[in-house]
Amino acid sequence: MFALVDCNNFYVSCERVFDPSMWNVPVVVLSNNDGCAIARSNEAKRLGIRMAQPYFEIKHLVDKHNVTVLSANFNLYADMSQRVMDVLRMMCNKVEVYSIDEAFLAFDGGANASFDKETCDLLEAGFNDLSGSHSVVTKAQMAEGFSSDHVEFCNKRSLSEHRIRRDLLTDNGRSHTYREGEYAFRKQATLIRDIVWRWTGIPVSVGVAPTKTLAKAANEYAKKHEECKGVLVLNDGNADDVLSKIEVGDVWGVGWQYTKLLNRNGIYTALDLKTSDQRWVRKNMTVSGERTLMELNGQSCIPFEGKKKLPKSIATTRTFRNPVTKKSELKQAVASFTSRAAEKLRNDRGLAGVVRVFVRTNRFHYESYYSGSRMVKLYQPTSYTPELITASLSTLDELFKAGREYKQAGVILLDIQPKNEFQQSLFVGKDRLEQKDALMKAVDHTNNDLGSQMLHFGSAHGTKRMWDVQQKRSPRFTTKWEELPRVRLSG
């Protein structure tokens, strides 16, 4: 079985951990430079604020309903993500981090959920002493409700639930192995949700099913239906009902182009797709569509990926605060984005074979809208920043059109391969490559120790102020000593 653990409204939830004044009120996080909504609390969703909606379109709602608006604080989100994943790894030995706020867990036939001794002791300590001081918390904590996002699950925590949990944990000794069965899956998933919440303050939903695609669907359903309390285990009895309530476009692996095609053919829900003709699906949606169909029918085709896979692409993209009009400025920006992407590439121990650069003007100025992108294939795969910058800058002669106001640009590294498997070209000496490696290591270490971009490449110099202004970003609560959460001891 697979479990998909997905953090609810992740960026908003991270912000809320450190600022109780944001609990229970609408909160929106905007993309860098306050472009578009990239996370919304449930309250904000209910106001009708849509994903990726630009700020100017929601401004009137923000003013009218007093919505808290924040700029993205990725330092915080990355740290909180790490914490959530660490907790998951303590609770399950097979965790596949799928994105910053999602992880697949492999429940091997339900027989692989063992906790280490320390966690067991702790869980026991946390849950067993209900007659003692723990009930202080239960009473005092407003049932731990950070907000309506959480309350539905915390509120109803009763004594008997704790007892059941405790029995499950202590049955069969300290390190407990669940038997197969939905009951055990549900308990395990609930426990995961509870512990992640308690330890990190992040609410998660858990979907459990025999395939990854179904686990995604179960998670989606659990998030949207309060009665699930954030946990749904799919079985033969409930699967079709659940799938009938999920739009086909929300099925994992079905993009919007296929959604249009499917809708034209009378397929609107996940259940419609599940019961579609397999040959038709293969013919119209290729083998990947067929794979989705099989997964919806309970046949697992997408395996658990225990090892961290190299990303398919690494992108660094920014929206400029003030439009960029000069070629020299655009060059600086692109060089700087390339540096950052190269850093990420080296961190993943990868090499890139292709660099793609794109630029675009304001897409809400429809008449003058311009966007373009160019790809450059590298002579040989590399993670050496100067080579990548040379490649990315070479695109600008064609891409840059004078007289346009560029609003956004980005660099995407593609054709990524593991560095240790790369067969070195015969034409380049090993010494030379090692020198480059050493230089890049030195740059990365310096930037890690002294702050990002302390050392940068000449062509990227001077770019900082063009897009780094973040007006409403919260403090980096967990990664900077000067920005720790402040706790008032005067009330």
Partner: protein, 129 residues
């Protein structure tokens, strides 16, 4: 968190090896002492004097562990009326108070209608002398 391991081994060509080589330990790591549950531990900065007799002064850094059980008399970070604060939990019979540790401040009794929740348990105070 990275724990650095020192390599103090005497070079072989120096002759007789140092008799102390066999007794080398790793460095003491303060993280190990202060942090039991890294994923659940946060640092916060105290501002104000209401917990002075609990040894918490303005400007101190508090180590807060969210994984711990909240025992009676525990010093906790609590969210009270939309703000984080530090108090001692005091429970008597069926009543619960958040107690300051400074006679100039008033205890807060927690009632049903209050928006109060415990955020984490304070385990250590980092104070510059």
């Amino acid at each position: 968190m990275v724990t650095k391991t020192p390599l103090y081994l005497t070079p072989v060509q120096a002759g007789f090896p140092s008799p102390a080589d066999d007794f080398i330990d790793t460095h003491l790591d303060l993280n190990e002492h202060l942090i039991r549950h890294p994923a659940a531990t946060f640092f916060v900065r105290a501002e104000g004097n209401s917990m002075i007799y609990a040894g918490i002064q303005s400007g101190d850094i508090l180590v807060v562990d969210r994984a711990l059980r909240v025992d009676n008399n525990a010093v906790v970070v609590a969210a009270v009326n939309g703000e984080l604060t530090v108090k001692r939990v005091r429970r008597e019979n069926e009543r619960v108070w958040l107690m300051p540790e400074n006679p100039l401040f008033q205890p807060i009794e927690i009632t049903e209608e209050m928006e109060v929740s415990v955020w984490g348990v304070v385990t250590h105070v980092v104070h510059r002398v």
